[in-house]
Symmetry: C2
Subunit: 278 residues, 2 copies
Amino acid sequence: MCQLLGMNCATPTDVTFSFSGFAARGGRTDHHGDGWGIAFFEDKACRLFIDHESAATSPIAQLVKSYPIKSRNVIAHIRKATQGDIALENCHPFMRELWGRHWIFAHNGNLEGFSPRLEGWYQPVGNTDSELSFCALLEGLKTRFGTTPPSMEALFEALAELAIPISRYGTFNFLLSNGQALFAFATTRLQYVVREWPFQKAHLVDTDMEIDFSQYATPGDRVAVIATEPLTDDETWTALESGELICFQDGQPVMRKLTLSPEEQQAAWARACSPADA
Amino acid sequence: MCQLLGMNCATPTDVTFSFSGFAARGGRTDHHGDGWGIAFFEDKACRLFIDHESAATSPIAQLVKSYPIKSRNVIAHIRKATQGDIALENCHPFMRELWGRHWIFAHNGNLEGFSPRLEGWYQPVGNTDSELSFCALLEGLKTRFGTTPPSMEALFEALAELAIPISRYGTFNFLLSNGQALFAFATTRLQYVVREWPFQKAHLVDTDMEIDFSQYATPGDRVAVIATEPLTDDETWTALESGELICFQDGQPVMRKLTLSPEEQQAAWARACSPADA
């Protein structure tokens, strides 16, 4: 299974600390060596780095670790292939344009038998269930709202409604951003931490690295980090409930919604324990 | 005015030699320091690096110069802003998806008063005439052929027809690729060279660097390099005629078409000499 990393911030922040721990999972401390990618928004546009090499050894990952690109919305992914070959076209995050903005999507999980009829607004380039679900989400938004972007509240409600039917096909944990907000949806595994004033120290799980954020951050800073598994061992991470959608803005959750009933939550967990989702 | 670099090859080839000379024009040997970008296709997908720093000093450009990414279709661009701010969203090349493939586009020139009515299939993220013309070209293709990609011949004819009306708005030199072919269109300035067996030496204009391709290439290799101005001073470059569209495949021109009459060619050159296109 793949791993996700997201960051949403009040002020442009670099992700080098969290990415260093995260990238170690791509082939060194964990077995997600089938490609990786990271996207940094700057307003409406973004820089996207993808590579089908392991994140632990890729020269492009090395650049990202050493070159502090500041951004308010970041999404990263390391891949352990379940569906789709090990090829560049199957590396997350995926990018599309909608309403004159880039949209970035990365998925963790596995969707079995998911084959929606798409109208052709967005077509997958690779052959993963993940990119297909991204195309289905964007087509759902385009069909609902036409050529004019909705309010953030209407967008949030629409995403919650669009995510439910897809989540019935398997495990559907995703991060999505258009540069204005970062949306996190989980059927099984996503956790987040909010770092804010007064900032403290944090120590990475995956590599012996510690940082004292109070040395670098100012009272106006606030950062939400979202990941498949906690990246630090001395901070309190909050797990998303099964079926929960959270909208992060300015480094904190601003909207949250539970989309699944207790029975549906149980079904989601049961699917996650099937061998296909290893 | 911006500068373009394209490479189309019979076998995956790295572009580090040509890019080294080209990147020097981004702020060192020339004044195109308002951002740059490069896209490398791997089959249907591509890696896209963009940066609003100067290509001569950007750490990402440094990585591209030192990390030989092999590709059969490459498009690069260095920017001297005419329309649009110096922002990431205005850095070429631009990327969109059409028919389950990535498409990459970069433009050199300036289109005055170009404001087509778009249906909403593709919307510009930034505010350049260049990205708008890319959206117009793709919408034209989508409107013509629907959700099924046409033959290469039909695609070539359609591009020629779609480029003509846009070219009337100013200077319209562009490179476009979907990973299967590289299309070059010029109203004023584009030149190309084909390197093939027996390979020879080449010396860069912009930096004192020479390479003997016969030491590296094999008889099956063939590479077409397309650029705004010749990158080498000891090879024979061929200039595109005004209004000419060329389709490159397997490292050579496979289709070419003249779209402008002699009068229209003269008008294109007259527009290019206006101050807005400096």
